[in-house]
């Protein structure tokens, strides 16, 4: 996979600049991509990665600068030009039509036809060819895309990009919705493509992943290229420092906190998507991590505790009282709060203001004689915005206009505002920048110090190991093990999550077999 230094680059972008109104999104950026190279483009949200890739694909024109493909000038007038020049994009948000089948989606806009009549045989053959590359048990040409899991849909998206005989493939956060298994498969696909001399620009937040898959890197910050080189020579800390632009001491700030008496006790709790009843207990001031693959029942556990999914059996006891009501509004009154893993679809009402989103779960403090005191509400929200360092113009700003990290802070602030004593957090740091992540870890620690209990579901093992007191692992809808965080390591967690047993329980011969 080494890149011959003498080989001319496939793509060269020189002095590319782009402004939107007063904002300078890209400032004199230079970028080179070698043949068969996987080049990681990293940077915080808003650093200019997406703008740069939109320019490359032809979706928007640059204000200044030149692009060359194979030494020939490349000035696409639109995404169609980009595709014809062999530049194919795989966007982070899925662009598939859910009612159409896998085959129809892959061939969409590129149907093979004679005088308008579809040539189904040829199309089926070409679809099979590309599906062979991404191979996934769920995916076959005739299945409607809406019935596939999110991970499988991402792979269909990738298959679609492969169809165009792409020479330059741009992947924007391709693993953000993939399970560990599917991610590994994706890396294999990338290796295969490299072998066929396809060059890949790989945009990602996950530095561990980038280090694993990329040969070279370029770091963008505030629209400028602040560093690039060979991945093998770069240290993790250096990359973070380049991205953040300041000395970044600790990703997981340790906040001292003491574990107290039990506050949440689950006994035989069962709900949809949970294969067997769960019994566990969470104490005041405790951060309990929950690991597991996507679909292992960890999200369902949180939703059942909160009453969002139907409770099929068992009890939830908070501070010694068994909860009678089974709907979210009763559970909120009992001191529970849930942060949804789906920030945009469920967690936030994007069209409403920061103030409305933050206070929706507890408007009572602002109500007097049936009427809301809007000024008091605004004032309280302004205080929270300041206290939590949320980058927003004010309480009236629409949540839609905030960055991902700041949106997530608003969603978390809602739980603080409603004074939840037990916080059920589902992937609280998914898809947000490193600085916001670190701030959120610090808050969680601070909450534990105040005596709140935190149930913390995550797919990102380093953060579980970094901030939790105890970690429980789910596998196929059942709780496998729960131990102090110090008794786990990443490999042990991964093994428990994928095999469903902790490493000590796996007989030696079987471990070798796997």
């Amino acid at each position: 996979m080494s890149v011959a230094p003498s080989a001319p680059p496939v793509l060269r972008m020189t002095g590319v600049s782009k402004s939107f109104g007063a904002t300078r999104a890209l400032d004199d950026v230079t970028f080179e991509l070698g043949r068969g190279e996987v080049h990681a483009l990293i940077g915080e949200n808003g650093a200019g990665k997406s703008t740069m890739m939109k320019i490359l694909s032809g979706a928007i024109p640059p204000d200044a600068g030149r692009m060359e493909i194979d030494g020939r000038p490349y000035a696409p007038a639109g995404p169609g030009d980009g595709l014809r020049s062999g530049v194919s994009m795989i966007y982070q948000e899925l662009n598939l039509a859910p009612h159409l089948t896998v085959e129809e989606n892959i061939m969409l806009g590129r149907e093979v036809h004679a005088a308008g009549w579809l040539d189904r045989g040829t199309m089926r053959r070409r679809v099979r060819e590309v599906l062979e590359l991404v191979r996934h048990p769920e995916i076959s040409p005739g299945v409607p895309v809406g019935r596939l899991s999110v991970g499988a849909r991402q792979l269909v998206e990738i298959a679609r990009a492969l169809l165009g005989k792409a020479r330059i493939l741009v992947m924007d956060e391709p693993t953000s919705s993939l399970s560990q298994e599917d991610s590994l498969r994706l890396f294999e696909i990338i290796r295969g493509l490299q072998g066929q001399d396809v060059s890949i620009v790989y945009i990602s937040h996950f530095l561990e992943e980038v280090q694993r898959v990329a040969d070279t890197y370029t770091v963008l910050r505030d629209g400028r290229s602040v560093g690039s080189g060979r991945m093998a020579d770069a240290r993790f800390e250096d990359l973070i420092q380049l991205m953040v632009g300041q000395k970044f001491t600790e990703l997981f700030p340790r906040v001292e906190h003491a574990v107290g008496a039990p506050v949440l006790t689950l006994d035989g709790l069962k709900g949809r998507g949970m294969a067997s009843p769960v019994g566990m207990s969470l104490a005041r001031g405790e951060i309990l991590g929950v690991a597991g693959l996507i679909g292992s029942g960890r999200t369902e556990l949180l939703r059942t505790i909160f009453g969002l999914d139907a409770v099929e059996g068992g009890t939830v006891v908070v501070s010694g009282t068994e909860l009678a009501g089974k709907r979210p509004w009763t559970r909120i009154r009992s001191g529970l709060g849930l942060l949804s893993e789906d920030r945009q679809g469920e967690g936030l009402a994007l069209g409403l203001s920061v103030a409305d989103n933050m206070t929706l779960s507890d408007l009572a403090p602002y109500r007097r004689r049936g009427l809301l005191g809007l000024r008091r509400q605004r004032q309280a929200v302004a205080d929270w915005i300041g206290k939590l360092k949320i980058k927003a113009k004010g309480p009236a700003q629409k949540v839609l206009d905030l960055s991902g990290g700041n949106q997530q802070k608003v969603a978390l602030a809602r739980l603080l505002h409603q004074k939840a004593s037990v916080l059920l957090l589902d992937e609280p740091t998914r898809g947000i920048d490193v600085v916001s992540k670190s701030q959120i870890y610090e808050w969680i620690g601070g909450l534990a110090r105040e005596g709140k209990a935190v149930l913390f579901v995550s797919s990102y093992l380093p953060e579980l190991l970094g901030i939790c007191d105890r970690i429980a692992v789910f596998h196929r809808g059942a709780l496998v093990a729960s131990r102090p965080a110090s008794a786990w390591d990443a490999a042990g967690l991964m093994a428990a999550a994928t095999v469903g047993r902790t490493s000590q329980e796996i007989p030696i011969e079987q471990r070798n077999a796997e």
């Binding site: 509004w329 967690g347 936030l348 009402a349 994007l350 049936g370 009427l371």
Partner: protein
Amino acid sequence: MSRHSRARIGKALNIFGPFIGLLLVIALFSLIPEVQGRFLRAANFKSVATQSVIVALGALGMTLIIIAGGIDLSAASNIALASVITAYAVNAGAAPLVAVLLGVLTGGLVGLVNGGLVTRLRLVPFIVTMGMMGIARGAAKWIAGNQKIDAPMTWINELMAKSPRPSWLLLAPGIWIVILFAVAMAVLLKYTVFGRHVFAVGSNEATARLCGVRTDRAKVLIYAIAGLFCGLSGVMEFSRLTVGDPTVAVGLELDIIAAVVIGGGSLSGGEGSILGTMVGVLIMSFLRNGCTMMGWPNYIQEIIIGAIIIVAVTLDRLRHR
């Protein structure tokens, strides 16, 4: 233009956008010499306002429903049913107040059933209310024996009188009722917990549920309130016609929806305002009035109003950019 000043202009457009449309319509007819004299008169404005009462009452409830992300196609049938019930009661010798209450409650009941079906059966509001459109219209014809119900004159018929008694009222009692309820609904939407919940359900129902909003209860209440307004609108229809006519107001639900949409309501929910809706009602009424004065045939009015709806929604889209 800087981003900031553009945002400010956008905000101003948001608030004043519908008013600009209304002023344009009024200015347009004021400039046409043939109708100028008759159009720009207090008496004409009064008659336009009176003609707006029925659509306006229906639109108050529809605003609530549309903000919450729903739709009510049964509104006009519901109005006809309520007018028939009111006439039936008056004819049967009930006290006028009782007849009015019966009419209003009939509307409320239809709304309640709409809300119940939407939340219990988990059907989309479009389907439920399309079914109810037929059911309510059929029920109205059945009760009325497929003809108009005559009723003796009572004070109900003065609700829509162009020259009200006592004369210090200046405007028909129906107009005052609309103004009163419009203010009440605007306050309800902006300053109550229920109002916040209406917006939240329309903007993102999953978020509302996550935040402990009892979304089903809120929706039933929303449809029931809208039904009550249809009932009141039906009473006004009876007041105007002095008979209970089961075939009245056919297609009026589209005028009601159009008024909400022209006033900035979004059919995908989460947006809309009472003030905007009321302006939307007036825009349509003034257009009708002006066209009639010009002697333009009905089909011209229909074409113009159709075009206005498309233009209004396009402008709405632009100012959200």
